[in-house]
């Protein structure tokens, strides 16, 4: 581990230690928050009992489907739009203002259309993530030096070979950033939708615990989501950094 990583870890531990002290010393009421050590103990118990497995599988499946859809549809749309400059110019204002739209207002409509199942949550996760992938695909393709197209033609490469061997690798740092954001946005979309109305999932479990004044379960689940999402994003971030370093970016 690098020195910087040790410092980051130390900051996290210090924050937990301060929180632990604030709760244990009574400066924060245990009715408001439980100590971090109690969160860990409760989380361990929940995981060991298997009580969490159903919600965990449901959330992760929905996130995975939303993410996979947003990455494939986002990449295909980005590549398609990039190939038609006039369409690109027409769509640009929509793409740049897309995240100003509060998607969750559409959630009741999605439940009405798809029913009370996983589809509305996947749809929200997808809607939240897909444009990040489109924008990053466009950015990546924009940044490919024009001379690469000449090199590909000098090597007598067709469109498919050029796309697979030259354009996609050249755009990979941006495509990977799109993937990283899609994972994060899919998590946000799916878990937030589970909070509002869902038949299950981690967001639903937290909401249920909150409604029933079950602080132990609520905080344990919050900790779990925090650790899970941070671990996934840190892994993707380190791969992204390696790609960027390799390309001198």
């Amino acid at each position: 581990m690098t020195r910087l990583a040790w410092i980051r870890l130390a900051i996290v531990f210090a924050a937990f230690a301060v929180l632990e002290w604030l709760v244990q010393s009574g400066r924060i009421s245990t009715h408001t928050m439980i100590p971090p050590t109690a969160m860990v103990t409760e989380l361990w118990a929940l995981l060991a009992s298997g009580e969490l497995t159903g919600d965990l599988v449901q959330t992760l499946s929905n996130v995975a489907i939303a993410c996979l859809l947003s990455v494939t549809v986002g990449f295909a749309t980005g590549a398609g739009v990039h190939a038609v400059p006039r369409l690109r110019r027409a769509l640009d204002p929509f793409l740049t203002t897309y995240y100003a739209v509060p998607f969750f207002v559409f959630y009741p409509l999605l439940v009405f259309i798809f029913g009370m199942n996983n589809l509305p949550m996947i749809a929200i996760g997808f809607m939240f993530a897909v444009v990040a992938m489109i924008i990053n695909t466009l950015n990546g393709l924009d940044k490919i030096p024009r001379v690469y197209a000449k090199v590909a033609r000098m090597h007598q490469m067709g469109r498919l070979a050029t796309a697979l061997r030259v354009q996609i690798p050249a755009a990979m740092p941006n495509l990977f950033t799109g993937l990283k954001l899609s994972v994060a946005y899919s998590f946000i979309g799916v878990i937030a939708a589970e909070f509002i109305l869902a038949p299950g999932g981690l967001g639903y479990a937290i909401s249920f615990a909150y409604d029933n004044f079950d602080n132990e379960t609520m905080y344990a689940l919050m900790l779990f989501i925090l650790v899970l999402v941070t671990a996934i994003n840190m892994t993707l971030h380190s791969i992204e950094q390696r790609l960027l370093r390799r390309q001198g970016l």
Binding site: P145, Y148, V151, R153, M154, H155, Q156, R246, L249
Partner: protein, 276 residues
Amino acid sequence: MAGEIHARLSGVTRVYPAVAGNPPVHALGPIDLELRRGEFFSIVGPSGCGKSTCMDVLAGLSPPSEGEVAFEGKPVKGNVPDGVGAVFQEDASFPWLTVSDNVAFGLRRQGVDGAEIAKRVAYALGFMGLRDFAQAYPAQLSGGMRQRVCIARTLVLQPRLILLDEPFGALDAQTRLLMGDELLRLWRETGATVLLITHALDEATMLSDRIGAMSARPGRFLETIETGWPRDRDSSMLEGETFGHITGRLWQMLRAESKAAMGYGSEPGQADREAG
């Protein structure tokens, strides 16, 4: 210097069609050019005169609006013919591949077997002084070394015609001279025909058997100069009197053309008339 015609442009013009309300651009010609097998030919001319367009047309990257292009007696139509390699001014090394994989890129595309690829890549890396950097990524190299990677990537394909579009344009003067020496060595050892596009008159004088001086846009050949250099030559020729004479003559031809290209008022072709 007589010799077999290796590539030929006959009555070639290139007009770029009108785009977004802008009028068509007559970039090149009509020009005729005959490259002799194994010679080192350079094209010099003012900025924007169509030098690179000329190379693109010859490579099959850009179709001529009029005229015919032939390589080894066969017409060049829409595709890059086998046996033609090119190095461009911009850094065209692939940053996601190691130096070794960059050099092997074209060979893998052609389906050459692994042992042959390893042999040719090792030779090209050694030839271009990159052996110690085989596993480095382009981002870890200087601009000159990255350009050597691009030359090596072309060299391994053993092209019979090498097209160089201002390959040293982004390098400092001393590195350019050293790269010029390496290029001459490559030319001698491969026996390939070389067409160099450059704006540097001294570079063209030092490297070439013949130099075609081009007018301001639309580019036409004003004159072709034979340098008379021996095949075994290097940058030490810069000390000689002939070098200065040839470079001076080129500048005399191109001075008015360059002024015209920059909008200083001289008529294109004036220098040609004065020199003539």
